[in-house]
């Protein structure tokens, strides 16, 4: 409640707060659930609930700005003839052309290439701008197969078989008709201006045994050259990771529920999946039990914001992280300079999540040619590269403080938790104790 209307005798319901009541009114008026973009907005156990144990006596720290801390990572060492070599362990998650403007996709490619990392296509296929600007490009193989083209498959540096997304595990997508321009419609083989449903499951295989054959098909088509990733939304992560390894994945991507999306039901974003923090130990345990940790690389995504998040993911056992929403913010998503424009469409800078409407004043989640022009792909790419460098520098700083000369040498022992919940999920001790909830001693 704002101060100008504050009346101490008025008490807002915690159950029926104003956002909840507004949603009830919206539902009553429209008869359809809220579809939106962005990621989960509720407060969830997250990386802020973990702290690093910097070195003092029992550990020996490394000197910042003097002693090196390796950040490079190789992905896809299991079967691929050409694994992906990255300079930094922060990659750009799959985001579709259609959901994003061509300029935004180009900017992602530019920024990732400057920083020495990869970017990823999305629903809607590979655009020339994206391939042209991305030194390392991962081609997503999605249930919808919109724009799926074997020529593009052969141009990719890796293939990511998408089984789920952290924002909506088990759900398909919905690109509303207003964003379906001629170009988007042509790429997806659908009429212009109609709602486009992205399938929630792959149409030509069922279950992990079939997936193993599908992966072999992709390997055969690409002559076993490039790594095959499997991306899952974080839910039954322990079992999904084991099955993904069994199916033949070179790399597994686990996307936690803080992951963003272009457009899906709000109820999905907020109520399906598990937090990223909770998913990592499950994934690592599955890999370790199979003797495949570090052999099948693990990429973690879903709400990564800063170098501390990166370092914590790696300490918990990830080989790399992927960023989506944060990358868009780095490009200029929700930038305050467009606040007047956001207000004209009923939102505000920092709150805008109606990506599905195609009216993004920042020119990122839109197909409107006039709005798209607002995003300079060169400048935005530069901003993204700067942000990626900051993430890396921050992670290095923390790793050195823990005495590590390689980000992948960070380990769970370097972490403690601030809350019982986060201690249980991350499987690290509650700060100041040796107690890990749920573990037997």
């Amino acid at each position: 409640m704002s101060n100008d209307t504050h009346n101490p005798s008025l008490r807002e319901s915690a159950t029926f707060d104003r956002s909840t009541m507004a949603e009830i009114r919206r539902a009553a008026e429209t008869g359809i659930y809220d579809i939106r973009g962005f990621g989960a907005k509720r407060k969830l156990p997250h990386f802020d609930d973990l702290l690093f144990l910097g070195a003092s006596m029992s550990r020996y720290p490394l000197e910042g700005y003097r002693e090196t801390c390796n950040t490079s990572v190789t992905l896809g060492t299991r079967f691929a003839k050409k694994p992906i070599e990255l300079d930094i362990p922060v990659t750009i998650a799959g985001m579709s052309f259609g959901a994003l403007s061509a300029n935004a996709k180009e900017a992602l490619g530019r920024g990732a290439s400057i920083a020495g990392t990869s970017t990823t296509t999305g629903d809607g296929g590979m655009t020339p701008e994206e391939r042209g600007q991305s030194k390392k490009l991962v081609y997503q193989y999605l249930p919808s197969r919109y724009g799926m083209n074997p020529d593009d498959l052969r141009k990719a540096d890796a293939i990511e078989v998408v089984l789920g997304q952290g924002a909506k595990p088990g759900g398909g997508g919905m690109l509303l008709g207003q964003k379906i321009t001629d170009r988007v419609a042509k790429m997806r083989n659908l009429p212009k201006g109609i709602d486009q449903r992205s399938a929630c499951r792959h149409p030509d295989w069922t279950g992990p045994d079939d997936l193993a054959i599908k992966i072999l098909e992709l390997r055969e088509i690409t002559d076993w050259q490039v790594p095959i990733y499997i991306k899952v939304g974080a839910t039954r992560t322990y079992y999904d990771v084991k099955l993904a390894v069994k199916a033949g994945a070179d790399v597994i991507v686990v996307d936690g529920m803080q992951g963003g999306t272009a457009a899906t039901q709000d109820v999905f974003i907020e109520h399906v999946g598990i937090p990223t923090l909770a998913a990592i130990p499950q994934a690592v345990q599955a890999l370790q039990e199979m003797g495949m940790h570090r052999k099948v690389q693990l990429i973690v995504s879903g709400g990564i914001r800063n170098g501390a998040d990166v370092a914590k993911c790696m300490a918990l056992g990830a080989d790399a992280v992927a960023i989506g929403t944060a990358a868009l913010v780095a490009l200029g998503c929700n930038d305050p300079k467009w606040d007047d424009e956001f207000k004209k469409i009923g939102s505000a800078a920092g709150y805008y999540d109606d990506y599905q409407e195609g009216k993004d004043p920042a020119g990122i989640s839109t197909q409107d040619p006039e709005l798209m022009k607002r995003l300079d792909p060169v400048d935005a790419g530069r901003r993204l590269a700067n942000y990626l460098r900051v993430l890396t520098l921050e992670a290095q700083t923390l790793a050195r403080a823990c005495g590590k000369n390689d980000l992948r040498n960070l380990e769970p022992e370097d972490l403690v938790a601030l809350t019982v919940e986060s201690a249980a999920m991350a499987r690290v001790p509650l700060a100041g104790t040796s107690w890990v909830p749920g573990q037997q001693f």
């Binding site: 197969r145 498959l153 009429p191 030509d204 088509i221």
Partner: protein
Amino acid sequence: MNTFDLTNNTVTELNHALHAQKGNVSQADWTVTNPKGSHNLAVGLDEALNVDIHGHAGYFCAGMNKTANITVHGNVGQGVAENMMSGVVRVKGDASQAAGATAHGGLLVIEGNAGARCGISMKGIDIVVKGSVGHMSCFMGQSGSLVVCGDAGDALGDSLYEVHIYIKGEVKSLGADCIEKEMRDEHLTELAALLEKAGVDEDPASFKRYGSARELYTFKVDNASAY
């Protein structure tokens, strides 16, 4: 004619040999023997090759084919010609489910029957089935044509977009938003051309046409019961 015996060679060696023709076709005609139901045969071809597979094939045979002319003298497993872009794939026997799934172009002819979800999410391919197709065929089909000379199972054309469906036999049930439509002259012409291209001797006038009612193209709450 190059003969590739899968008793003595692996599927990977076969595909590698076929891929090696790209840009420099020295051997256009290939015969594959003893496939024994192997998966992923002749996938990702990208040249005007003629490949004859003598025997049964497993999953994803001729997957993502582009330009090549592939014939299977036997039955095929799941996902034959999945995501095909162009060319011709002909199956002399029966096909399992998801035949021609998500395929963008070319012609798939199945001389026997096809299982469930034939043409699922098809995106421009033409599929001609001399026999019958299983349930949920053409689910979310976007464009292209599906011709079935036999019967169709439950929920034909569910959530259809713009695929033209022609069925000669009985349709067990139609899926959401799929309706029977008038067979006009242009459709008879299109169907006749498809049958001729597929080498199937049927009278176009004996078929019925099905397509999308286009009621679900944009969400309306009044249609909620259809979902």
